[in-house]
Symmetry: C2
Subunit: 250 residues, 2 copies
Amino acid sequence: MAGQIYIIGMGPGFKSMMTEAAFSAMEKSDVIVGYTVYIDLVKEHFPEKEFFTTPMKKEIERCRACFDYAISGKDVAFICSGDAGVYGMAAPMFELLPEYTTDNFGEENITVIPGVTAAISGAAVLGAPINHDFCVISLSDLLTPWDRIEKRLQAAIMGDFAIAIYNPSSHKRHDYLKKACSIMLAAGADKNRACGYVENIGREGQSYNTCTLKELMDTEVNMFTTVFIGNSNSKIIGDKIVTPRGYKYE
Amino acid sequence: MAGQIYIIGMGPGFKSMMTEAAFSAMEKSDVIVGYTVYIDLVKEHFPEKEFFTTPMKKEIERCRACFDYAISGKDVAFICSGDAGVYGMAAPMFELLPEYTTDNFGEENITVIPGVTAAISGAAVLGAPINHDFCVISLSDLLTPWDRIEKRLQAAIMGDFAIAIYNPSSHKRHDYLKKACSIMLAAGADKNRACGYVENIGREGQSYNTCTLKELMDTEVNMFTTVFIGNSNSKIIGDKIVTPRGYKYE
């Protein structure tokens, strides 16, 4: 009989930030599959388990390994950092599923278990930067043409959304956040727009800062950073960034 | 000595969808504060606790009660459905904090504990509808002028975001989803755009459907529904909706 595949959002990393469902799916699986770095974060809880890891850019090998394990009868926990369906492995798994579908294997063998994505966990650290309508945009152009990213940044400003930016930087893209800030300024965002960023959310070395959009433009962040741009009503209160929901206080 | 306030995202409701941090903050608090309906979802786990509930539209009373309890020395768990900072209570709490700040009470007394918001938990049920850049938009015009909501729907289509729609309907706003669909169609969304919706996410009676944008326009949903609009690349695979991340398969 074929096994079950649990595509699991593990949150930022620590067990305390996982849901009970995420942890117990790992517990009951025969094998845990994931990116090397994330596997290292959960290994200590399951010293006796079988693990299958692949490095970065080998995501599809990871997906195919999950199907192979499940079809051979093993229950598989496929872990993603943050959420399973936000830039996660849920989409490629459902895209590949028809290739593996038989009378004995199909949609009923796959469960997605959601997790706390960085927009949510980072927002909690910074206060309440996305407490109204918001967008999530990745600056990584590995899989997305840059002109589409540019269009989304412009639309986000036109719609006056609060924005969470993923993958703001990498070795090859160290100036992408600067470029993104220029695009947002050109699209009409005020240079004093309230912004903030969090490094190493929910991990060792977590830190955060608030600043204006103008200041953000001249800030170098690393690849472990999630960046937040407030909407036109957002404000810095103390050292938090707050996007009002619209309540009146008396 | 003043107590701590934990503003907690409890996820869709069941304990299995809470993070360990969320549950343990409730466990160690002296009093649990929240909207009547959400308190009923956690009461069974803490039969001995003190509870403070207020009905809908009494959110600010709830916030003030948290401050009063904490200043009187009690630890307070302030629970929100989904996440604490997505249309949640984190923003009003930080907006009210300066009123209550003294030498002995301030930012250090407040912790936001993130949770799984409906965009994430609903997406997991539907497959992978927001597996690329996405927006979250609430159709509730209680606290937001409708023209701003309209502008955001238009911008979301212009930016070709996947979209999660909160509060698509209520007794007084039964035709708001229809209006939203018209706006998106007028903004250039294809009538065959892949869409889906989930009712009672992670609760008794959970159900989901996929459809086209045109079909969605003629669908009546209730207030316990979260609606998803794919981007221009999204597709229905089996009975799931999938927004590709952009991987090539071989």
